[in-house]
């Protein structure tokens, strides 16, 4: 059990920085972020600057080598450090990983809601398919993004209270979203649309809820209202960031059930972020596993859950007890995630990995392909050797 805590505090605190170092870092930071902010805040940017083409026209979004950094006084946090994956039209992509691995920053980058000015997209593309054309959100100026946000892509957060305005009635808040998107609608039409949305998200008494204030609703009802607002303008993509994490399990079951039903009624793609493997397994068509700002493995839900390949994915699954699946002792991944400011130049998982071998001292492993859809960044799969896989039926069997 002692092996599990050898990291961070055995060494000199890596976060320690002297005052003069810190001053140097902040002035350098300001130079970088000022330049990026100036570019972002330009008013009349020709469309050609951010016009792009999708690699596959069937995708709603393509993240391509996205890097989003935070320039802080103690150093640069590489929150998202080269992330590439696609969200196909009408599909649900689940993003899973432990806290701090960059799930939220990935989605906030797409919304251009990363905390400015310290948070910046420094490299890569986020191609967003608008049907007749595609934009690269990473290059888009702020004023253009305002037209996309809420209309073409919307977001549901863990705590709905933070995104609902406490002093306005539920109905007025949904109306506002709809009026922005459909300015041609009359007042009565807007109201009807709002009531229809409340009905769609399973609220039995839409007229009653329409008149309520957010604090008068339970957590589960507030989350339904958030979902109603998020899908009101028929967006191409809905991002749900831990949408059920704050809810009790029976209420979570209601909300997941709602998502499943909605999926058949709307044609939006869904990006579902959660740390709960169970929720991902129930909802997602494709799964992306993140570790320390990078994707370590991605594939279809069946590939990831039935044939996990990366030692981190395998370890994560073996760590979590599953109802009615007995193990005497839980597998536990030793140690903890490296500091995002001082990332190593080898595989980020190496210091915790029980399958490391001599190659792992080399540079960060490239992405190796196990199938058309299944990709993994680990040297064990350098020949795409699926037979080289670690199994975890009961316990931990390693074929090497």
């Amino acid at each position: 059990m002692t092996d599990s805590i050898k990291t961070s505090s055995t060494k000199k605190n890596p976060n320690y920085i002297s005052a003069s170092e810190s001053r140097k870092i902040s002035s350098e930071n300001r130079r970088i972020t000022d330049a990026l902010e100036k570019k972002y805040n330009r008013k009349h940017v020709p469309e050609s600057e951010y016009l792009t083409t999708m690699k596959d026209p069937n995708n709603t979004v393509e993240f391509d080598d996205l890097h989003t950094y935070f320039f802080t006084d103690i150093g640069t946090v590489r929150a998202v450090d080269g992330v590439s994956f696609a969200v196909p039209q009408g599909k649900t992509v689940g993003i899973v990983g432990e806290s701090g691995c960059g799930k939220s920053v990935t989605s906030l980058s797409l919304m251009q809601l990363v905390q400015r000015p310290q948070g910046q997209i420094v490299r890569g593309q986020i191609r967003f398919n608008l049907g007749d054309k595609a934009y690269d959100i990473a290059k888009m100026p702020g004023n253009m993004m305002e037209k996309i946000r809420g209309n073409e892509v919307s977001m549901i957060f863990q705590e709905p209270m933070t995104s609902l305005n406490p002093v306005f009635r539920i109905g007025d808040q949904i109306n506002e979203v709809i009026m922005l998107h459909y300015p041609e609608k009359s007042e009565a039409e807007v109201r009807d649309h709002s009531l229809h949305m409340l009905d769609l998200v399973g609220i039995a008494n839409p007229e009653g809820i329409y008149m309520r204030y957010p604090h008068e609703l339970s957590g589960g009802m507030r989350q339904r209202v958030m979902i109603a607002m998020a899908i009101a303008c028929d967006p191409k993509l809905v991002i749900a960031d831990e949408p059920t994490t704050a809810l009790d399990v029976t209420i979570q079951a209601q909300i997941l059930d709602l998502f499943r039903n909605l999926k058949e009624k709307i044609n939006s793609s869904i990006m579902l972020i959660t740390h709960d493997l169970g929720v991902i397994a129930e909802m997602a068509d494709f799964v992306v596993v993140m570790y320390a700002g990078r994707i370590v493995e991605k594939g279809t839900a069946n590939e990831i859950f039935l044939h996990p390949a990366h030692p981190y994915t395998v370890g994560l699954m073996a760590s979590k007890p599953v109802v009615n699946r007995k193990v005497d002792r839980l597998y536990s991944i030793p140690g903890s995630v490296p500091s995002p400011i001082h990332m190593p130049d080898y595989c980020y998982f190496r210091d915790r990995c029980d399958r490391r071998f001599d190659m792992c001292n080399g540079p960060y492993p490239a992405e190796f392909q196990l199938s058309d859809t299944h990709k993994v960044s680990c040297y064990h799969y350098r020949d795409g050797a699926a037979s080289n896989r670690a199994l975890h039926n009961n316990g931990f069997e390693i074929l090497n």
Partner: protein, 360 residues
């Protein structure tokens, strides 16, 4: 006390909180946070306590340690009713019963070094002679996966998982028989969760500890517990051996709760029981069976008659009129596999095209 192995026995425990209102704090009502709960825990065993937020789990944990006053009922610890103890006796009892919380940070003093956090109460209660003190603290820290040089560090220098180790070490240092673990891993990431759960299990074996393990995560509870109690709005609605309750849940709430757990296997598609509505407020709970507003089986009598705990054999206790021999119900369910599945299908039909009907 009938059994030497019983370490803790809780009989009909009640804890009500006054609801105050206005400038003068007039008492206008009561929150019946714990409303007649009975169970017992054997030496060296773990009882899991599950239920949704606000159902009274934490209040049970605190009250049985006498960290709260009680409203009614009795708590026997090693044969002694703890609310009957005088101050001096209670002080002597304290080290034997400890608690660890969900948020390890807020329960650790930020101004004390870790060695002092763990050792403070050891000195106060004279657990070991002064000349053995240092070695003792080191030994306890090592048992919890901490190193000796951590003694001089402060809580903020540790990660969440390590802070929970400090809390565990602090509790363990007093050589307890019993530890209430209130959501000890709920705030931790999965890989860290597993480290802490394994630690708790190792310590239990080594020191013959009994745990009351409170959690809303049923898979964790199933992994760690010997017996399991399910609470709803201040009542213990079902209590049984772990294997018994997971293979044969009886109470309609327990069934719904179990079926709501997401399973990390995309090939499994279950007949899920989706409960309607939200959890009613414990300040104003429904009459009769408190679950009747969400229960698909609710009968007329459920709205007026409070169900009592029934023993269905092997200590499997359930509080539901369906299992009452003179329930007068046609629907009295059997408890074999096949009918359990039938019940699931029935629920599915009942819930088709329906979701939440009860606002707020």
């Amino acid at each position: 006390m009938n059994d030497n192995n019983t370490m803790l026995e809780v009989k009909n425990l009640q804890k009500f909180f006054p609801i105050k209102s206005g400038f003068f704090g007039r008492v206008v009502g009561q929150v019946k946070a714990v409303d007649g709960v009975s169970f017992s825990i054997e030496r060296g065993k773990t009882m899991g306590l599950v239920g949704e937020s606000g159902c009274g789990k934490t209040t049970v944990g605190k009250t049985i340690l006498r960290l709260n006053s009680k409203t009614g009922g009795e708590v026997y610890f090693n044969g002694k009713e703890i609310f009957g103890l005088g101050n001096a006796e209670m002080l002597k009892m304290r080290p034997h019963m400890q608690i660890i919380f969900q948020d390890p940070y807020s329960s650790l003093s930020p101004r004390l070094p870790v060695g002092e956090i763990i050792g403070e109460a050891v000195r106060e209660h004279q657990i070991v002679p002064p000349n053995e003190f240092d070695d003792y603290v080191t030994r306890i820290m090592q048992a919890c996966g901490l190193q000796e040089y951590h003694k001089d560090r402060y809580p903020h220098e540790f990660s969440g998982g390590q802070r929970q180790r400090i809390c565990i070490a602090r509790a363990l240092a007093l050589n307890p028989d019993f530890v209430v673990c209130d959501e000890p891993v709920s705030a931790l990431d999965v890989s860290i969760q597993a480290q802490i759960i394994n630690l708790l299990e190792d310590l239990q074996k080594e020191f013959n500890l009994a745990y009351l393990f409170i959690s809303h995560d049923l898979s964790v509870v199933q992994h760690i517990s010997d017996t399991v109690g399910v609470m709803y709005l201040g009542n213990l609605v079902e209590f049984a051996n772990k294997d018994e309750i997971f293979s044969n849940p009886l109470h309609p709430y327990t069934k719904a709760l179990f079926s709501a757990i997401p399973i990390p296997d995309p090939t499994v598609r279950r007949n899920r029981i989706i409960l309607e509505g939200s959890i009613p407020s414990p300040a104003n709970p429904p009459s009769g069976c408190k679950f009747h507003t969400r229960c698909t089986y609710a009968m007329e009598r459920c709205k007026v008659e409070v169900p009592v705990q029934l023993d269905k054999g092997n200590g499997h206790m359930v509080a539901c009129h369906l299992y009452d021999d003179n329930s007068g119900s046609e629907k009295q369910p059997e408890t074999d596999e096949a009918s359990f599945r039938a019940i699931g299908e029935q629920y599915d039909k009942a819930n088709e095209n329906k979701t939440e009907s009860n606002p707020a």
